[in-house]
């Protein structure tokens, strides 16, 4: 049995590219949150922007959020992975450039071309607009997604190259020699294991996504090249679900890297940890069918497999990470600051957010719950209180002036406002789902409006908190690129 001891890792500042990613992420995230508020205000009947603008904003909010959390997650992953492998800065920046080009195309498609078919661009909707948007607008939207995808393929190819060069193969990057053989304690660190998993699943997901996007582009201009709508939906959800799942696996690297620096306890790449990541590498590619359970035309076995794997995949990494974090923190004398608070609460958000999906993944529940606000309740909890909290924790970590720096009461208040606001906001989604409020409706019945209004108040609270987080990060950008000890050592270890 291998023994694990903590090896101190120096705190390195962020490269300019990582900071560029984070600044873009912060600005776009804030903008997308404002878009989210606009939608809830419309449903609350506080405003009347109309159906066209509601669906245009919904399309931008969905596509923008998926893209921007992926960009933020990539920044976290790249920052820590480069401590172990030799990554290309040029490719990293090329991904950002391609991302921004794609964003401009999507913005033009929606704002100028009136495209509003949702970020899921489900076939045949983009090509059958009934005159509401042009073929060119739909092509611009899908072309933008394609360009963003090409950037991420390049990034993952570079990560694969670097991991293979350093460790000798992606199998070794996942720690297979230690998982299936003798655990000599030399398994790759958690950052490398997580990055390997993300690279494998995203490469597969992106190639499938690119294939359906190209086919739909062909179909837009030559409709006689028909596409099976069920196949198109399956491919879109495979790509979309893998991609959005991967963002939390990128961001969780912040937890693996930063919490041990606070407690000086190692995050072990032991057999259980390696097994959970290998299992999820496979299972994450088979859980998307919980979005297809209402499509009775799919083969029954396919839906049952989706149901079972959806149940199974909820747990391995989540339990290993949640339990691991508690073991690292338990009786460590950890000093809680904004970074450690956000990282720790992110695991709570991840765990709580996964549960509604687990419930929705049950076929009989799915029939009545899937097209309700229950599902946005799930992914907003999982992403906002889970993934986005990890990114904000990372931002606080980079900008911390010194290891003994105290948080201002405004930051602490913002933290609690963020937690309470997110819980209130997501609970209003979940409760609306429970009373069968459909999702993606611009107009709500009077009986549903009180919950929408409650959600709007909570979003304002979240926005106020996020403004503090972002302002603090931007005001401390000067610290973020320097190399110095940031983590406050646990009380039992601190010398001062």
């Amino acid at each position: 049995m291998a023994s694990y001891t903590y090896t101190p890792v120096p705190d390195t500042g962020a490269k300019a590219g990582v900071l560029a990613y984070l600044v873009v992420s912060a600005v776009v995230l804030l903008l997308m949150m404002v878009f989210g508020l606009l939608m809830r205000l419309e449903q609350s009947q506080f405003t009347s922007i109309g159906g066209l603008w509601f669906y245009k904003i919904m399309t931008l909010h969905g596509a923008g959020m998926v893209g921007i959390v992926a960009l933020a997650g990539a920044a976290v992953m790249w920052h820590f992975l480069r401590l172990y492998v030799d990554l290309s800065n040029g490719i990293f920046m090329a991904n950002l450039a391609l991302f921004l080009i794609g964003v401009v195309m999507i913005l033009a498609s929606v704002l100028l071309g009136d495209f509003h078919a949702g970020w899921t661009f489900l076939f045949p909707l983009p090509g059958t607009s009934m005159g509401l948007w042009s073929t060119g607008a739909a092509a611009l939207f899908m072309g933008g997604l394609l360009i963003i995808g090409v950037g991420f393929v390049l990034l993952h190819l570079d990560i694969a190259r670097a991991i293979i060069t350093r460790y000798g193969g992606l199998g070794r990057g996942l720690g297979w020699p230690q998982l299936f053989g003798h655990d000599d304690g030399n398994a790759p660190p958690p950052t490398v294991v997580a990055s390997t998993m993300v690279t494998i699943v995203n490469l597969i997901g992106l190639v499938v996504g690119a294939s359906i996007l190209v086919m739909m582009l062909v179909n837009l201009y030559v409709p006689s090249f028909e596409i099976d709508p069920l196949l198109a939906k399956g491919m879109i959800y495979f790509f979309g679900h893998v991609f959005i799942n991967a963002v939390i696996y990128m961001a969780v690297i912040a937890v693996y890297e930063i919490l041990p620096r606070y407690t000086q306890r190692p995050w072990k790449s032991n057999k259980v940890f390696l097994a959970s990541w290998t299992a999820s590498t496979i299972m994450v590619m088979f859980i998307f069918p919980h979005h297809l359970l209402m499509d009775y035309a799919y083969p029954k076995w396919f839906l049952i497999v989706g149901h079972i794997i959806g149940y199974l995949n909820t747990f391995p990494i989540l339990i290993v990470t949640g339990y691991g974090a508690m073991m690292i923190v338990y009786r460590s004398g950890i000093r809680w600051d904004m970074c450690s608070r956000l990282l720790f609460v992110s695991l709570f958000g991840w765990a709580v957010g996964a549960m509604p999906a687990f419930i929705d993944g049950t076929i009989t529940v799915n029939y009545v719950m899937h097209n309700t606000l229950w599902v946005p309740g799930h992914f907003h909890t999982y992403l906002l209180l889970g993934m986005v909290a990890m990114v904000f924790g990372f931002m606080y970590y980079l900008g911390k002036p010194n290891e003994n720096a105290k948080d201002s009461p405004i930051d602490v208040a913002a933290f609690w406002a963020f937690v309470i606001g997110t819980l209130g906001f997501t609970m209003s989604f979940l409760y609306s789902g429970k009373i069968s409020v459909p999702r993606r409706y611009a107009e709500h019945l009077p009986e549903w409006v009180p919950y929408d209004r409650l959600a709007s108040y909570f979003i304002v609270l979240i926005l106020a908190a996020v403004l503090v987080f972002i302002f603090r990060f931007l005001s401390r950008l000067g610290f973020a690129s320097r190399d110095y000890q940031r983590a406050s050592l646990a009380r039992s270890l601190a010398t001062t």
Binding site: L157, T165, G171, I204, V207, A210, F225
Partner: protein, 207 residues
């Protein structure tokens, strides 16, 4: 007195030449071009493979000289990309069957403009370059196959609709198998190429 023996590479070269000529015989052409699947997925890849083997039989010094003269690995990849894309067009297949000049063009361009430049470029490409070539080729093959399956019309005058559909399915299946194989090579760490662009890595691995 022992009889003089030819170097091994020269023997292989002669064998390769014979194989090339055999592919060009009316009997082989008739059989391989009788169906779209054999034409696109057997004859054409064989011509590319002949170009690949032919290039690898040349001394490494010659390969490096040619690569330097043509401007490096990127132009080679671009030439291979455009030449192979042309031969994916249904119209090109028809032309090869009906116009002798186009048939000669196919027999010359696939080995010389696809196989040959790919080998020249390969040893200088990092995993990013090799990955780009593979993911591009695999997704093109999959999408083309899909288009052949769902095409509402006969895309080649020389082949029947069901032949076209069979070829489409073979392409889709082939692209999936190729993708799985390529990912598997990453798991065992082969085919990574040189660490830096332009470095002289191994040209012997396909992935």
């Amino acid at each position: 007195m022992s009889s003089p023996t030819l170097p091994r590479d020269v023997k292989y070269g002669i064998g390769l030449g014979i194989l090339y000529l055999l592919l060009g015989t009316p009997m082989a052409r008739d059989w391989l071009e009788a169906t779209m699947s054999r034409h696109m997925l057997v004859q054409m890849p064989l011509l590319v493979i002949l170009g690949i083997i032919g290039c690898r039989l040349l001394p490494v010094r010659w390969q490096n000289d040619v690569l330097a003269r043509v401007g490096g690995s990127v132009p080679c990849v671009m030439v291979a990309l455009f030449a192979s894309s042309y031969w994916m067009l249904p119209r090109a297949l028809d032309a090869a069957l009906t116009e002798p000049l186009a048939e000669v063009g196919k027999f010359l361009s696939l080995p010389l403009l696809v196989g040959f430049p790919l080998v020249l470029a390969w040893r200088r490409l990092t995993l990013i370059g090799r990955g780009f070539v593979w993911t591009n080729f695999i997704s093109m093959l999959a999408v083309l196959g899909w288009l052949y399956i769902v095409a509402p019309v006969r895309v080649c005058n020389s082949y029947l609709v069901n032949d076209q559909e069979h070829a489409g399915w073979y392409m889709v299946i082939g692209s999936i198998l190729l993708f799985v194989w390529w990912l598997a090579t990453l798991f065992i760490g082969s085919g990574v190429g040189p660490n830096k662009p332009g470095g002289n890595g191994s040209g012997t691995t396909l992935a």
